[in-house]
């Protein structure tokens, strides 16, 4: 098979892939929804489709971050946005860790671990969006 070089067909191909992806997502959601109704939340999460769905959702969220970084107006400096988000993240992780510690059956170590996990999970997208914003600013300055 010859490689398609026609730009119109490449574009059309991408649009077709998007339609297929949409249908696939609807199918996955349908299957997971059926599992949710018949087997409950835990039964649904045992289905490997759940993992596939979550991975695709996370990847699509990360990819759309680069679009929103370009779309937003860049009046605020990336450093300021990063410090505000970090502050909010630290507060949220601390509160969650604090509540876990004082929940019956959990020790202070569980609280620290829970808060730490939450902090790291939140830190990754924050750093990524900071990287995107600084990169975009550098691109803007080259004029």
């Amino acid at each position: 098979m010859k490689k398609i070089r026609d730009e119109r067909l490449i574009l059309k191909n991408l649009q077709n892939t998007r339609i297929a992806y949409l249908i696939q997502t609807v199918g996955i959601l349908g299957i997971l929804g059926y599992d949710l109704v018949t087997k409950g939340l835990d039964g649904m999460r045992e289905n490997p489709l759940w993992l596939a769905f979550m991975i695709t959702t996370v990847i699509s969220a990360y990819l759309s971050m680069s679009i929103s970084a370009d779309h937003e107006n860049n009046k605020k400096s990336p450093k300021k946005s990063l410090s505000i988000s970090l502050f909010v993240l630290v507060i949220i992780s601390t509160i969650v860790g604090f509540f876990v510690t004082f929940t019956e059956g959990f020790t202070i170590i569980d609280g620290v671990i829970m808060g730490g996990i939450l902090f790291i999970c939140g830190l990754v997208p924050l750093i990524y969006i900071y990287y995107l914003r600084t990169k975009r600013q550098d691109e803007n300055f080259v004029e």
Partner: protein, 69 residues
């Protein structure tokens, strides 16, 4: 988008198929561009111009519509 690809192509005695082969796209794409139903990228516009020996503005320039806001 309106353009003068068809006129320029006939001036250099090329069929849609020949022009398409020279540029490396399909005949359908050339046909859609001539009808104004497909917006080619700047790269493809340039390729067309090189092939028919015209400048970009001679083929693709359209006057700004006056009644536009």
């Amino acid at each position: 988008m309106e353009n003068k690809v068809r006129i320029a192509r006939i001036q250099v005695n090329l069929t849609q198929q020949q022009l398409a082969e020279k540029i490396g796209v399909t005949r359908q794409t050339i046909s859609l561009i001539e009808k104004g139903k497909y917006n080619p990228t700047l790269k493809l516009c340039l390729d067309i111009c090189y092939t028919v020996n015209k400048r970009l503005d001679e083929i693709f320039w359209v006057e700004k519509e006056r009644d536009e806001k």
